[in-house]
Symmetry: C2
Subunit: 243 residues, 2 copies
């Protein structure tokens, strides 16, 4: 399994993905699920993937080769805006489905794949999309400023409670890391290291690209600080009033 | 869906269940999923259920009628110990499977049911079991002092991080409520009110049996206190060191 989360905030984008893949619990590997495309001063795009690794790697491969959209062969550095980026990724998913879907289906294997595409191109504000296995997609809005793919349930409560569109991006990074840590602790199929992409609004470049493992001092501080804060929080809450 | 959680701690048992059932999101009802059997001074047993409501109500119905185990017709007030209680519940599940399984299967409906059985009988310590749809079961231990059924993922991280066998039972109640609240907020198929059973070791009676809705002052305090504590916790955590 996988856990990836994207935040689309007033100040910019945060995308975070783990790196564990598994074909059964006895066959675990490390693959990055977060890719980036950067043309400094013009565009920065992040792509996070979840699902069958052969499918998601094929999608990324097609995107690097170029995918037909509206009669043109395009790559992510070519698209005019983020809506077109999302359509291009959807087209890549459909190209893989056209090529591999029938055989997967004949062998009883589902076409399991979902992606987050976030970024900023030119003067458009940063945008974030979730692309489904059918190649269609939804977009994050100020009402729902985060999207998740993969093993999303463990890390959802903290985002549901705290994150809003106007959360400062530094706090968004913290919350994404807490959401990831909650997932890492509760589900073995999500594993370290994790990859982080931070994009600040109107910088039009990668603000931070960072791989974080056990030894990353900031992630370690978040993990420990959060555990201590939770322990403290439940201790200071009032005891049941019937006790 | 449903969320029920049971804690088996040094000081006793906590069992908590929501009351929402749904047949599609447009057909929502309220049914208690937590039952209790009490013979003061002798035994106290709680039963929490998740899955297909027709199946879980049939299991409870069979238990009230009496179920054959080792050639005897027994009910929960008759069993000699909690292991026998778990076996009896398993036998009730199998009786329902024998009666309804073939038709459900013919109609393409899975036999979806899981239960928590916790309690104390006589001089035995409190024990907690999770009974599967096959009627077999596992038991909570000091290493893993909580068991969950239903929509378990949202509420697992807080328990994974904080709960241990020697957590005081009043703190166990708080943590179970926080775990439930996380689930309620993130998943519409889990809903208020919630039912709580608290059993203190060696009291051999119900210590607390409480239904809590929106207006329950303690649950409201937990919900609000926890949200504020989380918000405070992430604000005081250090900002990313590259910021």
């Amino acid at each position: 399994m996988t856990y990836c989360v994207g935040l689309c905030l007033e100040q910019g984008l945060v995308m975070l993905g783990d790196t564990r893949t598994n074909a059964g619990v006895d066959n675990i590997s490390t693959f990055s699920k977060l890719q980036r495309v950067e043309v400094p001063g013009e565009r920065v795009i992040g792509l996070a993937t979840a699902g069958n690794l052969a499918i998601t790697q094929a999608v990324w491969g097609h995107l690097q080769e170029g995918v037909f959209l509206d009669g043109q062969r395009l790559r992510l550095p070519d698209v005019l805006n983020m809506f077109q980026a999302a359509r291009l990724v959807g087209a890549a998913v459909r190209a893989v489905f056209a090529a591999d879907g029938p055989t997967l289906s004949a062998q009883g294997i589902g076409f399991d794949c979902s992606l987050l595409v976030g970024g900023q191109i030119g003067e458009e504000p940063p945008r974030l999309f979730l692309i489904y296995a059918a190649g269609n997609f939804i977009e994050a809005t100020a009402d729902t400023p985060f999207l998740q793919i993969g093993e999303h349930k463990y890390g959802k409560p903290i985002l549901d409670r705290v994150l809003t569109y106007d959360t400062p991006i530094a706090d968004g990074v913290k919350l994404a890391l807490v959401s990831m840590d909650s997932t890492l602790r509760s589900n073995l199929t999500v594993g370290l290291p994790i990859d982080l992409l931070e994009v600040k609004r109107d910088e039009l470049r990668v603000h931070q690209w960072r791989r974080m493992g056990e030894d990353d001092p900031y992630f370690a501080a978040v993990r420990q600080g959060w555990s201590e804060a939770l322990r403290h929080a439940y201790m200071v809450m009032p005891a049941p009033d019937w006790a």
